[in-house]
Amino acid sequence: MTSRLSLSHAALLACVAVISCYITWSAIAASTRLYNLIVVVPVAVIIAVLLITLVWQALSGSVPDGALPDRKSTIGDIIMLVAFGVFCFGLTKFGFDIATFIFVWAGVAFGGERRLWLPPVYAAVFTLALVKFFGSLFPFPMPLLVL
């Protein structure tokens, strides 16, 4: 049995632990009445027990992490994820049309399309369709820069 706790698995467990601790602390700080803690506290206890179990399982190697994707694929995923985060943030900052056009163009090119002219043309048509059809069904105003 080998001891294995990959960096990304450790990051996930740390993320769960930090968020759960914060939610529990915040709920207790807001009010210690039973009605306020009826779900938070029992779930926090369960999460604490499960965290210990999962870390122990990973470190002891009793439940291995399994085969992880290669480094190149992981870096590609992270780039796409960051680009998606920036795109989501940019929707209201730069306008839905511009943000969507750039994201789809870059995404198609990043996905492996070799014809240089096709991604911007596709991105423009897709953005136009999205703004005119999908966007028109929204009950909220949608910031646009060009269209």
Binding site: S6, S8, H9, L12, C15, I19, S20, Y22, I23, S26, A27, A29, A30, S31, R33, L34, Y35, N36, I38, V39, V43, I46, I47, L50, L54, Q57, V63, D65, G66, G76, D77, M80, L81, F84, G85, F87, C88, F89, L91, T92, F96, T100, F103, V104, A106, G107, V108, G111, G112, E113, Y122, F126, L130, F134, G135, L137, F138, P139, F140, M142
Partner: protein, 501 residues
């Protein structure tokens, strides 16, 4: 149980002219489109088209709006099957087996199965409604928060069965979902965990979170491949195979019956509805299956259970609306608004004085279900074309659609940012074999659990056990829950152990 004179009058209202049916096909199409696009809700479609019903008579308006409801319930399942994006919370369980089927090249069969199960489920739901509307309405009035706690806990037990690698990971995903559901103002009005951000006062927006954790994270994983379905031959859209899939759904009569019954009963409980019904039905069918390990890997029975239950819950939700004038969810609330447009008040008096109208709505909905079968078959070929799109184009386009969908739900930047945050969480969870579906169930049912538990504690004066003894329906639910989730699995485990010896 059926008033034959009113039934004859209802038939006359529906079939003496084409008028009542005029808006059914457009309604079904609107529902299919809104249901199939992540971020566009069925209730949103009904609200958008509500003003159109001003010019219609009451029956036309009801049939138009309920046809959007019917079409939308199935539309959500189409994207769940083809892209692992549940169009709404009522299609979460459809994705569990529908998407693995699509990835195996069985998308035609999965779409057909879903359509067949939806048609049977919705028909059965309305059939039950026709026969049981009065007794069911009486039962609904007897349900209190304790009974709702039982139903919601029943839905939560599914978490324990969803594990991609170990039970601990499944439970951790579910518990973390429950924890995230506690962000924002509590049921009793205590402000907690808002991080100084006004968007978090109402907690995390569940649908954008669901879109992010299910869809966006899966799309990131697919990025390296060329097509959703790898083999060229398997990418074919075959009408014959869709039809075969539809016929295949009839091979699971027990599942169709159980899914319909669970859906109709849970759908009738105000505030619970189809989002819980599909999970409970899926969990029950998986639990009692001879082959539970096949579920989650493309088991047709899983698609049938989920789709039957979410479709039959529509009939159930109409029970509370027609018989009591209580809307069980957002969609029925829009229907209630249509009632008031036409100066009609739902409730016992409506059933007593306008019985023929009630029957006409129910029979009309059964007719709609048949039309959904035909229309679904015609449109599935078009909707299925998504698997022919190269992933280099599909991934960024659907990711963009997901972010737009998040905005469509919240109307603020919080929607797209929730999608992005949950996409990251989902990517990490999938990478280490944590079931993202369990986290969604926790997030979806956490608020409901808290609300019903608090109400139970308040009503019982802090003595829920004493209160339980006074509630026969709650006792029945409790015994059923213990038998199904504890005693039956133990018995089955012992039987399997004995068979090995």
């Amino acid at each position: 149980m059926i008033d034959t004179i009113a039934f004859a009058q209802a038939s006359d209202l529906l079939f003496s002219s084409f008028g009542p049916w005029l808006y059914v096909i457009p309604g079904l199409l609107i529902g299919l489109i809104f249901g199939a696009i992540p971020g566009l809700q069925i209730s949103m479609a009904m609200a958008v088209f509500l003003p159109v019903t001003f010019g219609m008579d009451f029956l036309q308006a009801m049939l138009f709006l309920t046809s959007i409801f019917t079409g939308g319930a199935y539309g959500g399942g189409v994207t769940a099957i083809l892209m692992n994006i549940p169009g709404s919370s009522s299609s979460v369980a459809t994705a569990f087996d529908g998407y693995p089927m699509a990835k195996k090249g069985q998308h035609n069969e999965a779409l057909g199965l879903g359509l067949g199960a939806s048609v049977v489920g919705a028909f059965a739901g309305y059939l039950l409604l026709m026969f049981l509307i009065q007794p069911l309405a009486g039962a609904v009035l007897k349900l209190g928060p304790l009974e709702m706690v039982m139903v919601v806990v029943w839905g939560l037990t599914l978490i324990a069965t969803l594990n991609d690698s170990t039970v601990a990971k499944g439970l951790m995903a579910g518990a973390f979902g429950l924890m995230l559901s506690q962000i924002g103002m509590s049921t009793t009005g205590t402000m907690r965990t808002k991080l100084g951000n006004p968007y978090l006062i109402d907690g995390i927006a569940v649908v954008p979170a669901m879109i992010g954790i299910f869809a966006a994270s899966e799309l990131l994983r697919l990025r390296g491949s060329s097509y959703l379905v790898q083999s060229d031959a398997d990418r074919e859209i075959s009408f014959k195979r869709i039809l075969a899939g539809m016929a295949m759904s009839l091979r699971y009569p027990k599942t169709l019956f159980r899914g319909s019954l669970i859906g109709a009963i849970i759908g009738a409980i105000p505030g619970v509805g189809s989002s819980v019904a599909n999970l409970v039905a899926y969990g029950e069918v998986r639990r009692t299956s001879k082959n539970p390990e096949a579920f989650g890997k493309g088991e047709p029975e899983g698609v049938v259970a989920a789709e039957t239950a979410n479709s039959s819950s529509e009939g159930g939700s109409m029970t509370a609306l027609l018989a009591l004038g209580i809307p069980g969810g957002a969609a029925t609330a829009v229907l209630l608004a249509a009632f008031s447009f036409h100066n009609i008040i739902g409730g016992p008096a409506f059933i007593r004085d306008e019985t023929e109208l009630v029957y006409a709505i129910i029979i009309g909905n059964m007719g709609q279900v048949v039309l959904l079968g035909v229309l679904g078959l015609l449109t599935l070929r078009l909707l299925g074309l998504v698997i022919k799109v190269p992933l280099a184009y599909l991934v960024p386009s659907v990711l963009a659609l997901c972010a737009w969908g998040g905005y469509g739900i919240t109307g603020t930047l919080a929607g797209p940012l929730t999608v992005a945050a949950f996409a990251g969480l989902g990517w990490l969870m999938r990478r280490h074999n944590y079931p993202v579906a369990a986290a969604v169930i926790g997030l979806l049912l956490g608020r409901m659990t808290e609300g019903e538990l608090v109400r139970t504690m308040q009503i019982s004066g802090g003595n829920p056990l004493g209160y339980l003894l006074e509630r026969p329906i709650a006792i029945a639910f409790f015994i059923l829950l213990v038998v199904i989730s504890l005693i039956l699995p133990i018995m089955r485990h012992r039987k399997a152990k004995k068979a090995l010896v």
